[in-house]
Symmetry: C2
Amino acid sequence: MPRDDLPSAAEGGIPPETSDADRFTNARAIRSTALFEDYTELIADLSEEFGEARITDIARRLGVTHPTANKAVLRLKREGLVNSRPYRGVFLTEAGAAMARAVKARHRLVVRLLIAVGVPAEAAEMDAEGIEHYVSETTLRAFEAYLNSKG
Amino acid sequence: MPRDDLPSAAEGGIPPETSDADRFTNARAIRSTALFEDYTELIADLSEEFGEARITDIARRLGVTHPTANKAVLRLKREGLVNSRPYRGVFLTEAGAAMARAVKARHRLVVRLLIAVGVPAEAAEMDAEGIEHYVSETTLRAFEAYLNSKG
DNA sequence: TTTGAAATATAGCACGTGCTACATTCCCGT
DNA sequence: ACGGGAATGTAGCACGTGCTATATTTCAAA
Ligand SMILES: [Mn+2]
Ligand SMILES: [Mn+2]
Ligand SMILES: [Mn+2]
Ligand SMILES: [Mn+2]
């Protein structure tokens, strides 16, 4: 039977529109896609710079070892985000390229917003790498509106 | 030997102050502490509401199963952030309470900042749950300054 | 054309973070 | 005081994300 020496968490509160659990569940879901977002964005950058994305370059840019990058690329492949053949470069699929575009746009917008509210550029760049993944469409549009309403 | 049919990533660029790898490494480090931050903040909330934090309540608020919460609490304990005895509640240590205070302050500040730049309250609450963990001290101070410079 | 160093791949370890299934303990109502 | 349902704990699975060590492949210089 439920305890009742202490007030139950289930009773006594107006049911909030968004429960705590919803927020945390949302954050967990995003956490599991954040790595893919960073990879696709990076692969897009490398492809533009060098014409292809090599495992070694991916690993060095991310600050991980090659085996880690290689394993991640296999997961990206399984998810249909990249194409790759052994000992060759990694290339984004259409889905991967679409993700890369979205992530890059978000990344830039977050940095711009942070700088606009007075965050030093250095810190803005650093923090944006994590923040970007958690910014919803709604928030993104608000950032855009805010930046447009300025100089 | 290095390829040279394509320009190497190592050459040809001014060494940037903060490398890409630094940003990603920083984000990875934060990701590994984000869960602890959410737990300590939540345990502080439950302790204030009910006088103690029970595993079941923690699990329900986070939207995970009890075994998951239980295992996480064991990790928190190992890290010296909580005290707990079998079949009893979970209590923050001084270190845990300090973390909870810092995280809660950050959480609130992030929500306020988001709302201040025009993000709807609902989205601000949702996004802040992920964003909060990646906001550095520098950025935090910038947020404070920005909010003080407003009504 | 041979060959060796760089690049890439694979094997296997550690640990985190989730789950389900099952065991144990607690404590309220009777 | 005791019986049973709720709470808590534990075992074990899956998979992600990192690592080191080792094997394999590629390609440009000799
Ligand atoms: Mn990122
Ligand atoms: Mn990014
Ligand atoms: Mn959080
Ligand atoms: Mn929080």
